[in-house]
């Protein structure tokens, strides 16, 4: 503990309601609580990982709805209070029952993971990317996931997986995510 510290206010907790994968979670939280901690520790959804905790690695990537549009963001760089009233989607919300999402299926089939730590963030980032660019080139995929680090360096198969998923999603005629 620092011996001397500036007077800090801000003990007041705030009630937040966040809809994650279709379920509403309502808790009283400190404003400084990060969204990723809300997801993991309050909602108990530990599929969203914390890698670097410094906005670099993308392991904590989730989708959030802004004015009807879903966008990939890093949940370690967002306060839970900011997400009050918002809808978010995490890796747990992608599959429909036993049926894997095309991205999950493609990562499985193309060996798009080694240790698997970056995978949830990689898949959520890929979903956000494919919504903006449904028919990407390999180079565009590489740029699209530049905010996600795989320390096994399994990028070749990750890129292959995303391209395969993009093709499957296009040919199915369905949107990237169905919520």
């Amino acid at each position: 503990m620092p011996a001397k510290r500036a007077k800090q206010t801000g003990n007041s907790k705030q009630q937040v309601v966040i809809e994650i994968n279709g379920t509403k979670y309502s808790y009283e939280v400190e404003p400084r609580l990060l969204l990723v901690h809300f997801i993991r520790e309050y909602a108990g959804l530990t599929g969203t990982h914390i890698g670097c905790d410094t906005t670099n690695c993308g392991a904590c990537t989730i989708l959030m709805e802004f004015d009807g549009k879903w966008k990939a963001i890093k949940s370690c760089t967002y306060f839970a209070v900011q997400a009050n009233g918002k809808r978010i989607l995490t890796i747990e919300g992608l599959a429909k029952g036993d049926q894997l999402h095309p991205l999950q299926k493609a990562f499985w089939e193309n060996h798009g993971l080694q240790c698997g730590y970056c995978t949830p963030g990689m898949i959520m980032a890929a979903a956000g990317f494919l919504m903006m660019n449904p028919n990407p080139t390999e180079e565009e995929v590489r740029h699209g996931i530049s905010g996600n680090l795989c320390r096994c360096t399994g990028y070749v198969n990750i890129v292959k997986s995303i391209l395969a998923a993009a093709e499957e999603i296009r040919s199915s005629g369905k949107p990237v995510i169905e919520v």
Binding site: Q8, T9, R32, A72, G147
Partner: protein, 291 residues
């Protein structure tokens, strides 16, 4: 990493946000995209007692094109600029810049106006704001317009008062017979801060002479600057390889980089020359001028 405790406000109007700022002054911080503020709070480099989140002020989210001027509201994200047809048509340098800021997730949240207010000496946006002669609108008890060229005062230091909120940026649309713009960024790895970034905007007349030139450099000085000596050298002249090289040398000689992880001061100065040349060449190419 957990920030220090703070009190959180989510106003829905500019008036509410400004009254909170006027109440808490420099104990408060404005949260827009949060892509610099939140990491700094997590590292406890800053620990504001009051955080005023402006993301719920829906009236600040617009790109408005009135022909001669384009107005960008405080909540416009890097990704909005990257994908805006208006920006693509009128300010191509901003599309160059937006696409190379950090990564997709950060671009989905970080804002143009917020980045200007943050005034990181290595940030990309200040170069565009300077080269486009942007005017920045600050709202305190009254509204005032600050020229981008008068806005940046030092590293993380601007002309903005603690009781003012930067609400929008006004970008005058360049006019003339031949127009070209570019932003060239030299980065160590994808999504990194620039080693050097050079924004250029050129206007040439019918005789193929430079009528107007704006050159702005970032990351090679305590704060981003206009390379006015290099601009003066070009005005009224016909572009040539030698002239561009001379302008690039002049721009680099105005820089004052510091040595760090991204390179030595000497190296950065050299790269400032190379990237000024390339940026000018790209702008000329887009203006349809062959050298």
């Amino acid at each position: 990493m957990i920030p220090r405790k703070f009190e959180y406000f989510a106003p829905t109007t500019v008036a509410q946000a400004v009254s909170l700022l006027r109440k808490y002054k420099d104990e408060a911080k404005i949260l827009s995209g949060g892509m610099s503020l939140i990491p700094m709070m997590k590292l406890r480099l800053v620990s504001p007692q009051y955080v005023i989140d402006i993301n719920n002020i829906k009236s600040l989210n617009y790109i408005k094109d009135s022909g001669r001027v384009v107005r960008i509201g405080a909540l416009v994200r890097h990704a909005d600029i990257e994908h805006s047809p208006v920006i693509r048509e009128k300010f191509p340098m901003m599309v160059d810049a937006a696409a190379h800021i950090a990564d997709m997730q950060v671009r989905n949240l970080g804002t143009f106006v917020g980045a200007l207010a943050h005034a990181d000496p290595a940030a990309d946006w200040p170069a565009s704001a300077l080269a486009l002669d942007a005017e920045l609108v600050a709202q305190g008890s009254s509204k005032r317009i600050i020229k981008a060229t008068k806005f940046f005062k030092g590293p993380f230091e601007t002309a903005l008062k603690p009781t003012e909120l930067l609400v929008e940026a006004l970008l005058p649309v360049p006019k003339g017979p031949k127009l070209g713009q570019a932003y060239l960024k030299f980065e160590r790895k994808a999504g990194d801060y620039a080693i050097v970034g050079v924004a250029s905007s050129v206007v040439l007349n019918e005789n193929n002479e430079f009528e107007k030139v704006a050159l702005a450099l970032t990351a090679v000085n305590p704060f981003p600057f206009r390379a006015t000596d290099a601009e003066q050298l070009l005005i009224g002249q016909k572009p040539s390889k030698e002239l561009i090289e001379q302008a690039a040398k002049t721009a680099a000689s105005m820089s004052d980089p510091s040595s760090d992880l991204r390179g030595s001061a000497e190296y950065k100065k050299e790269m400032a020359r190379v990237f000024t040349r390339r940026s000018l060449n790209k702008a000329l190419e887009r203006a349809g001028v062959a050298l």
